[in-house]
């Protein structure tokens, strides 16, 4: 799909090279954004660092952000998560699992026409809090639930 552009991005590495590519008109800004993967945020191992880098370290707890998860997961390989933001003007939702080796699991950006809703399956290494952060008008709103990952079966 966008393989050539990805190669350019990967190869560019430093932002300077990317800026140069943009200036040279090789890439349109909007298309660059489409393939961006926020490596810096996804590689953070500490939840506070991950929250900080996505600008959510001062997020306000909000009942407008609805997080539906089972409180007990029989297997950490698949934990279903359903999220709806009722915060007006929500433009993105991020899903963070505090105790995972890399807490930030995903980020969804909603354009014109999309409802701020997503359902997905995440992996959890152990029992942990899951928090979802909705962004609206530059502010962050958060909802959090604890999910217990249990041991099932005979273990044999």
């Amino acid at each position: 799909m966008d393989e050539r552009r990805r190669v350019v991005l990967r190869g560019a590495g430093a932002t300077g090279a990317l800026a140069a590519a943009l200036a040279a008109g090789l890439l349109k800004p909007e298309r660059v954004l489409a393939a961006t993967w926020d490596e810096n945020a996804f590689r953070k191992k500490d939840v506070a660092d991950a929250l900080k880098i996505i600008g959510a370290d001062d997020a306000v707890a909000s009942k407008e952000v609805v997080l539906d998860v089972p409180e007990i997961a029989e297997n950490g390989a698949v934990v279903p998560v359903e999220i709806t933001s009722h915060v007006p003007g929500t433009t993105s939702i991020a899903v963070v699992i505090d105790k995972n080796p890399f807490p930030l699991t995903s980020r969804f950006d909603f354009m014109e026409g999309a409802l701020p809703y997503v359902k997905l399956n995440v992996k959890m290494g152990q029992s942990s809090n899951i928090r979802v952060i909705a962004e609206a008008g530059g502010k962050h709103y958060v909802a959090m639930r604890e999910v217990k990952v249990t041991i099932g079966g005979c273990g044999g």
Partner: protein, 269 residues
């Protein structure tokens, strides 16, 4: 830096109030919720799609597809076929389950060698087996059809009786039978609920949701696998794929589940 950390900690403290603890009485409800959400967000349909392609794929010495395979309702008839299996097949004089019948079709229609067709009956997440894909596809065609397995044929009846005896047969170093874990209602192993399988109350829903996608190993699992892995955990020798004993046990469970609308391929933890 310090200020940022403090605010993060405070935010976490405020949130802790919102995160309600799990009470024992809610455990069952929450596990049921997990299972429901798991089924709703299941990738099992991907296996049905692959299975459909495999069903139509010409292969083997005869370069034939399985499209004319008779699963008991006539050549190529898939709708509802699984809901009537295992059953007695006059052409082989045997009671057969889905997997043994599929292999029979590979041998007779595609001209394949039995050994080759059963060389790799259980796959893995990286490479599922042919039978796992095919089972997903075929059983999906019985979704919503009531399970109606007949014991009218004497051999079918004998298979049922043998299956019932096998279910209760205690042996092995740990003295287990199927009933050791599946003979009492309302018990669990670790946090895993154990269905009572020799009574319709427990057998119906459980049987109707196998074969299934197992999220613990991201794999589509057949019913032959289910029995195989139970016997492994019972510390028995290995049941031979497609053998009369495995078909008999399946027969016993299927008949006990009669009347339940089939609802697979399922999704399990």
């Amino acid at each position: 830096m310090l200020a940022l950390r403090t605010s993060a900690v405070l935010a976490a403290a405020a949130l802790a109030i919102a995160a309600a603890p799990v009470h024992a009485q809610d455990e069952k409800k929450e596990i049921e919720k997990y299972q429901k959400m798991l089924a709703e967000g299941s990738p099992v349909e991907l296996f049905e799609l692959e299975g459909a392609d495999l069903w139509k794929k010409k292969q083997g010495p005869k370069n034939e597809s399985l499209e004319k395979c008779d699963l008991g309702m006539g050549p190529g008839v898939l709708k509802g076929a699984y809901a009537h299996l295992p059953r007695y097949f006059a052409d082989t004089g045997r009671v057969m389950d889905l997997e043994s019948r599929l292999v029979h079709c590979m041998v007779t229609l595609q001209g394949r060698d039995y050994k080759e067709a059963t060389k790799r009956v259980f796959g893995n997440a990286d490479k599922p087996s042919e039978l796992e894909y095919l089972a997903a596809y075929v059983v999906g065609k019985s979704r919503g059809v009531k399970i109606a397995v007949s014991t009218r044929n004497p051999k079918a009846k004998a298979a049922y009786e043998l299956g019932r005896q096998l279910f209760h047969y205690r042996a092995g170093p740990w003295d287990f039978s199927c009933a050791s874990c599946h003979g009492v209602a309302g018990k669990r192993i670790r946090m895993q609920s154990l269905p009572l399988l020799d009574k319709p109350s427990g057998a119906r829903r459980t049987y109707a949701t196998w074969p299934a996608y197992r999220v613990s190993n991201s794999q589509m699992k057949t019913f032959q696998w289910r029995l195989n892995d139970c016997y492994r955990q019972m510390r028995f020798p290995e049941p031979t794929f497609g053998s009369d004993a495995t078909v008999a046990l399946t027969m016993f469970l299927a008949v006990t589940a009669n009347g339940e609308p089939y609802d697979g391929p399922g999704t399990k933890r």
